[in-house]
């Protein structure tokens, strides 16, 4: 049982007009059904078919046989260099490339054939050949004997730095050797030990860290802080010379309370003034 084709509107019909031969069976059925119902679209379809007939009559001319031969023979003769000759414009444009030996052989042959028969282009070639011999005789002076030596001397500091960088990189990125690793360990230990000794000999007692974050992360022991006594410091207070300037007012505050007030502040006791 065949289903009646679904209806198609005029817009869809016009869109598919030139592709009607590519429609599937159902779509083509709907297309034809619409053409039977709509007079305007039927007229369009008729025009389309006339256009197709017209276009089918347009044939490209068959390749003309030249000199009694076939088209393929003419192409082959061209490839062998026996083909058509170049015109004056082509010859002029190719002369310098021809003299430099940069032309493809079959193109060179075309140009050569033209040159055999054209006096003007032959003169042009003679002139181009002479000018070529002229500019090829143009000599540039050689650099002085000491050029390389002077350059190397000038570059010596940079080459030394490059060598040092490369050595360091090789050392760092090279395969791990036991003696190298041991040497690195010993060096690190000595450095750490000497730093520790230096610190203990100076006897410097690092200041207690009162407010973490305000003292720049100094390495002193951290003293427990009673959070209630630490007043929040607003960003405006950090202005240079401002009330909360950590490098100014805080140190002044600590100095002022050096007589024990600070300690009591840290313990949470009310400030005694």
């Amino acid at each position: 049982m065949s289903h009646p084709p679904t209806d198609m509107n005029c817009d869809a019909f016009r869109q598919q007009l030139h592709f009607r031969h590519e429609l599937d069976r159902a779509a083509r059925g709907a297309f034809d059904a619409h053409a039977t119902r709509c007079a305007d679209c039927a007229e369009l379809l008729l025009e389309g078919e006339r256009l197709d007939d017209l276009l089918l009559q347009w044939h490209a001319p068959a390749p003309a046989a030249r000199g009694g031969g076939e088209f393929a023979d003419a192409v082959l003769r061209g490839v062998r260099g026996e083909g058509p000759v170049a015109g004056c414009a082509e010859t002029t444009a190719s002369l310098h490339h021809l003299l430099a030996g940069d032309l493809e052989p079959w193109l060179a042959a075309r140009v050569e054939r033209h040159l055999e028969g054209c006096r003007e282009c032959a003169d042009h070639r003679a002139e181009a050949r002479q000018s070529r011999s002229l500019w090829l005789a143009w000599r540039a002076p050689d650099p002085s004997e000491s050029f390389a030596d002077r350059l190397i001397r000038r570059l010596e500091p940079e080459t030394r730095a490059a060598r040092r960088r490369r050595l360091l990189l090789d050392w760092a990125l090279g395969p791990i050797h036991v003696p190298r690793a041991a040497a690195a360990l010993v060096l690190t230990s000595i450095t750490l030990l000497s730093l520790g000794l230096l610190q203990s000999r100076n006897g410097a007692r690092p200041a207690p860290t009162v407010l973490s974050g305000l003292n720049g992360g100094s390495s002193g022991p951290v003293v427990p802080v009673n959070r209630q006594t630490v007043l929040p410091i607003e960003p405006a207070q950090f202005a240079p010379g401002g009330r909360g300037d950590p490098t100014g007012s805080l140190s002044r505050e600590i100095g002022r309370r050096r007589d024990g007030a600070l300690r009591s502040t840290l313990r949470g006791a009310p400030d005694e003034k």
Binding site: H96, H97, L134, W135, A137, P141, R150, R154, E158, R160
Partner: protein, 196 residues
């Protein structure tokens, strides 16, 4: 011009003086000649300094050269030469029309004398005439012409250096040669007259 082998290049990058000397030896003449021809007679006294500056720039940029990307060392080197020479010409711009040029700036008459290509082509006057004729070429044409005719670079390489197509390079070289033929015509007629 043969490109240096990668091992030598790697050593030069690492600061090995002998390797860098090999690099300098391979390129000192091509670079010096190209600079001389590109910046022309106006900076003849500075050509050696310019060449040295180019080599120093090359040494500093050597670690950035990556042969695995398919770029030839010679193309990379001549790109530096081009950029530096164009920069020199731009910074020290001078009138480019020779005092010997005619009203149209095209012909370069030489004092009337017979010229025998056999023994006189290398005379100072002829050399100067060629130098002036080449100097009148637009710089892009001059670059393509010099790299092709005197350094023997391939069209593709010159195209890479000039950042344009091979067709453009061929066209520039053709126009440069036609301009030279026209500007050196006076010399050519002398040659012809002498031989006929």
């Amino acid at each position: 011009m043969d490109d240096l082998d990668l091992a030598t290049l790697e050593l030069a990058r690492a600061g090995d003086l002998d390797a860098y000397r090999a690099f300098v030896k391979a390129y000192e003449r091509p670079i010096h000649h190209t600079v001389w021809r590109l910046v022309g007679s106006r900076f003849a006294a500075e050509v050696e300094d310019i060449s040295q500056d180019i080599f120093i720039k090359l040494f500093r940029a050597l670690p950035q050269f990556d042969a695995t990307r398919g770029t030839k060392l010679s193309s990379w080197v001549f790109t530096f030469v081009k950029n530096y020479c164009f920069d020199v010409l731009k910074r020290r711009r001078l009138p480019t029309i020779s005092i010997d040029a005619g009203e149209d700036g095209a012909t370069l008459p030489i004092a009337g004398r017979s010229l025998d290509p056999g023994d006189e082509l290398s005379t100072r006057e002829v050399q100067d005439a060629i130098a002036r004729a080449v100097d009148l070429l637009p710089r892009e044409q001059k670059l393509a012409f010099v790299l092709r005719e005197y350094e023997g670079l391939a069209y593709a390489e010159i195209a890479e250096i000039s950042c344009c197509s091979e067709g453009t390079i061929k066209s520039r070289i053709h126009r440069a040669k036609e301009a030279l033929r026209f500007r050196l015509r006076h010399l050519l007629f002398d040659l012809e007259g002498e031989h006929s």
